[in-house]
């Protein structure tokens, strides 16, 4: 229990903020864009599992190394030729793992990305997320204020949350376009 809390905490603080870097690395080195999300999840899972035995001292390096290994394995299995060289780990600015101005900048960028994603949520979804997370109403209060069922509020929040999380995978500059594309109405989205 304690052990898994420490691990969760470490993962939360050190690994999750690297999502943009991971996605950038994967996109640069893997041709099939539809597999990126899946690969990113695989990186997270493998990193979490190996941290069970020992928490790595340099998370950034460790995580990108893991991404590289995963691509190697998949490459061999699929017998495909990658679009970039898998050895270009160095090409990613070697950011240190020390708390630094870069880190603060990254944190600010994370919030900026989220803000843009929030601004671009579908109307009703955005309304519900803003009332709950920005204005701080409870789910019940949101339902009451909008005159909708609490279960509908839950659905909007779950959907909004996934769309916001998606923003970490968007690269600067293309982020709005990506959000729009993601938000394009499709059969599976409701409301």
């Amino acid at each position: 229990m304690d052990r898994s809390n420490i691990l969760d905490d470490w993962f939360f603080r050190e690994v999750l903020p690297l999502e943009p870097a991971i996605v950038e690395y994967l996109s640069r080195n893997w041709g099939s864009e539809s597999e990126i999300e899946d690969l990113r999840q695989e990186v997270f899972v493998k990193v979490y599992e190996s941290a069970r035995t020992e928490i790595p001292a340099a998370p950034r390096q460790f995580v990108l190394q893991m991404a590289q290994n995963i691509l190697f394995v998949r490459q061999r299995r699929n017998k495909v030729i990658p679009i970039g060289s898998l050895a270009d780990l160095e090409a990613l600015e070697p950011e240190s793992d020390e708390p630094s101005p870069e880190r603060r900048t990254a944190a600010r960028q994370e919030v900026e990305r989220l803000q843009i994603a929030l601004d671009n949520l579908p109307d009703r979804c955005r309304e519900v997320v803003v009332l709950r997370k920005v204005r701080g109403l409870s789910q019940r209060e949101v339902a009451r204020q909008l005159g909708i069922e609490e279960s509908t509020v839950e659905q909007h929040l779950a959907k909004g949350l996934r769309l916001l999380a998606q923003s970490a995978s968007s690269r600067r500059g293309t982020i709005i376009a990506q959000a729009r594309r993601y938000l394009r109405p499709s059969g599976s989205t409701n409301g």
Partner: protein, 314 residues
């Protein structure tokens, strides 16, 4: 891919349920889901980070939500309650009308209800469960009489009209501040979070008033008044009811049950054999059934329900 989407959807659903509050059965199910697969845990943690991050965002430009209602009730309210809340706002706004008729307005919440009320010039009142306030405006002052219950006052300073609260023989005057008042019979507890308030004994107005600043608690009963300085953490704990939570640090079960009983129609009765068991933690005020399960499962107490109430013994 499809798998990943499914897991992410499940993670989102769990997180939103967690935000709404899980009962014990759901909690167990959620814990099982989390530890089943690393995939699940990782997806959950990722969304959790986003969820927490979203708390730092600001409203989108041109954001228009449905107009907030003046008396946004947190828990079920009946139509009469709404009418009262609306009326208070009307009397607050209709100044001219007030000159010709004295305006006394009652605002009340039932057991398990909470309500926010906005007054003129940005002053807000949050009523806790089972509370009755009577508000009267006369030229230079708004006097609120607290017949029972608990309320948090966020007062904008207004030189033209002072806010005065009367509770069990105490007069509490704001000096531009945030504080809560809890009246339980003749007992009055004032918790000040910001600014200063003045507290006087109505029967003895010539005595020197007590002035309480931020992070202090005043407890008054009859002729006695006690002023205590508290830490920020202790003050926060006193006010978790504003978020629908009850927070205890090693308090006897007897006292804990009294707190739950303020919020729930289903009352807890504690047998003398179990009264002194110490309880700590945060609980949803309206989740008395969850708390009951906890007593049974964690403290191995005997719990049975009869005629709608809960009886607990060792």
């Amino acid at each position: 891919m499809a798998d990943g989407q499914l897991i992410e959807q499940q993670a989102a659903d769990w997180l939103i349920k967690e935000d709404r509050g899980l009962d014990f059965r759901e909690r167990a199910e959620f814990d099982r889901w989390l530890s089943e697969e690393t995939d699940n845990r990782v997806a959950y943690l990722r969304l959790k980070r986003t969820w927490i991050g979203a708390g730092q965002l600001s409203e989108p430009k041109n954001f228009r939500a449905a107009a907030p209602r003046p008396g946004t009730a947190r828990v079920l309210r009946n139509a009469a309650g709404w009418a009262i809340a609306a009326m208070l706002l009307v009397t607050a706004i209709a100044g001219a009308w007030r000159l010709t008729r004295p305006s006394i307005t009652t605002i009340a919440t039932g057991v398990g209800e909470q309500m926010n009320v906005s007054l003129e010039r940005g002053t807000r009142i949050e009523l806790n469960t089972n509370t009755v306030l009577r508000s009267q405006v006369s030229g230079s002052a708004r006097t609120i009489t607290m017949d029972r219950g608990q309320a948090f006052f966020d007062v904008r300073r207004d030189k033209a009209r002072q806010l005065v609260i009367l509770a069990a023989g105490r007069r509490i005057t704001d000096i531009g501040t945030k504080f809560s008042v809890y009246r339980n019979g003749d007992n009055v507890k004032v918790v000040v979070t910001e600014g200063r308030v003045r507290i006087e004994d109505v029967k003895n107005l010539s005595a020197r008033p007590i002035e309480a600043g931020a992070n202090s608690i005043v407890i008054a009963n009859g002729d006695e008044t006690l002023l205590a300085k508290m830490t920020g953490a202790e003050i926060t704990k006193e006010l978790t009811w504003r978020y629908g939570l009850l927070t205890f640090t090693d308090e006897p079960l007897e006292a804990v049950s009294r707190e739950f009983n303020r919020y729930n129609a289903k009352k807890m009765h504690i047998d003398p054999s179990a009264r002194d068991i110490k309880i700590g933690g945060s609980f949803r005020a309206n989740n008395v059934d969850g708390f009951k399960d906890l007593l049974q499962q964690v403290f191995a107490l005997k719990v049975h329900e009869s005629s709608g109430d809960i009886f607990v013994s060792k």
